[in-house]
Subunit: 244 residues, 2 copies
DNA sequence: TCTATAATACTTGTATACAAGTATACTTGA
DNA sequence: TCAAGTATACTTGTATACAAGTATTATAGA
């Protein structure tokens, strides 16, 4: 029987991260997965005790999460807001907005180097599938889009991406973990969509790009209700029967 | 002779702000105005001494400025990046991007209430001009656009706004302060542009909206080179001859 | 039993202390 | 004079301490 994992966020990502960042990632994961329910009030002291650190890194983490709109810093404690389906849709609105903008810029650029990088990432994703590594797959997926966005050298567009990235990353991580066990063919379809994306960039075909973007969103997008994420997550990690 | 002002950022904005926020605003203003030059290395200890506070609020402020891309947190000290003209252009790219998006949404909404609010702000701006209050004018200008963006209730679009707002605010503040002394007619033109914006919203006229948006950007946009901002700023506040 | 007031326990914001690591400068040797 | 190595002073990251304020709870009075 699989042991219950102590941390939801992949620890390999946090090798050279400070305590604050580590805790931000973990809390974000717990909030988005539903493990920490909306409305919960987090206290710095309590969190510090739970994570066995001082309040300093906790404060740092809470500031980050507040800037991502998944908690709200109030006078007495931080209120967990979480993500409703409306907000998930909004995140994808923003992605569509900036990726479309980026594509317009790419039309006027040489995209040879970019195209090579993307192909490399795609191969990494294939390997991840081969070894049923959902986390690696998700991370490469995020990297794929980050590479595209970063390629136009627009610091403020990149800033927008950096703001939504952590939450995106969590959503994709959770979605992939849920699906890798059974819905194998989903992943090959995701790969296929990314291939179309690359093709759109190479041929500078607007329509194709929009199509693949939509395909990708519809695919990766969490069709399940957010509240179900944690339940699935529990079942995956514990492999045991849960009450209820 | 006017006395040199100790703080660049309007203190009335910071009445109920903590030390961290206050310092972030002040440092941002000094960096964007050029008072603190690009390449300068800021040390937490030194800043703490300068502002006569402990390192805690300083750290908080530096984190904020780093998320705005105007400083870069490194191993040894925070490197001031500042704003080049390229980056100022990029900020306006993003504004154009989101305000256009917002307008598309407004087309499908009832904009009566919004239009009233905007008219009120416009009157406030007129009063500010009447009393030659550049700061108040700038703040109301920012509020004008924030009100539009906030009206569509899109938390992630609002998040983007909140990310670029502080820097925008500084740019507009500096620009208005420089111009209020002499270029009086500029302000009535800004008012005029905003009136067009309201009209575009009321008539739901895409073309008109784009036009007013461009007019507004071209107008408010800092035509002067950024490096000149601080020099002008110094002359304004000291009213004395500067070397060089 | 209900209300008002006071005591208490918990909250955040800021200041200080300590530890680990890095760049600089100096000293020592040739 | 130059090079190598060491000592020192400064950096950030984290932990702890303290202060001011707020919600809760308990107690006293009617």
């Amino acid at each position: 029987m699989a042991e219950s994992r102590e941390f939801l966020f992949p620890e390999k990502m946090l090798l050279k991260a400070g305590a604050g960042e580590r805790i931000a990632c973990e809390l974000r994961m717990r909030i988005i997965s539903g493990m920490i329910e909306s409305g919960t009030i987090l206290s710095e002291n309590k969190l510090a005790a739970d994570f066995a650190v001082s309040r300093s890194p906790i404060r740092e983490a809470l500031k980050v999460l507040a800037s991502e709109n998944i908690i709200r810093l109030e006078r007495m404690g931080a209120v967990v807001v979480g993500l409703t389906e409306k907000e998930i849709q909004e995140i994808y609105d923003v992605r569509l907005l900036i990726e479309t903008y980026v594509f317009e810029r790419l039309l006027k650029m040489d995209t040879n180097q970019l195209s090579k990088e993307l192909s490399k990432i795609l191969e990494m994703m294939n390997v991840a599938i081969k070894y049923r590594d959902a986390d690696e797959f998700a991370l490469q997926d995020v990297l794929f889009h980050e590479t595209i966005i970063g390629s136009i050298n627009h610091s403020y567009i990149l800033m927008i991406w950096n703001n939504i990235k952590p939450v995106m990353e969590c959503l994709i991580l959770l979605s992939m973990r849920m699906r890798i066990a059974e819905e194998y063919e989903d992943f090959t379809r995701v790969i296929k969509n990314h291939e179309i994306y690359i093709e759109a960039i190479e041929s500078k075909d607007r329509a194709l790009m929009i199509e693949s973007l939509h395909l990708n969103f519809d695919d990766v997008q969490v069709q399940e209700k957010v509240e179900d994420l944690w339940r699935s997550q529990q079942m995956l990690s514990k492999g045991a029967v849960q009450e209820k």
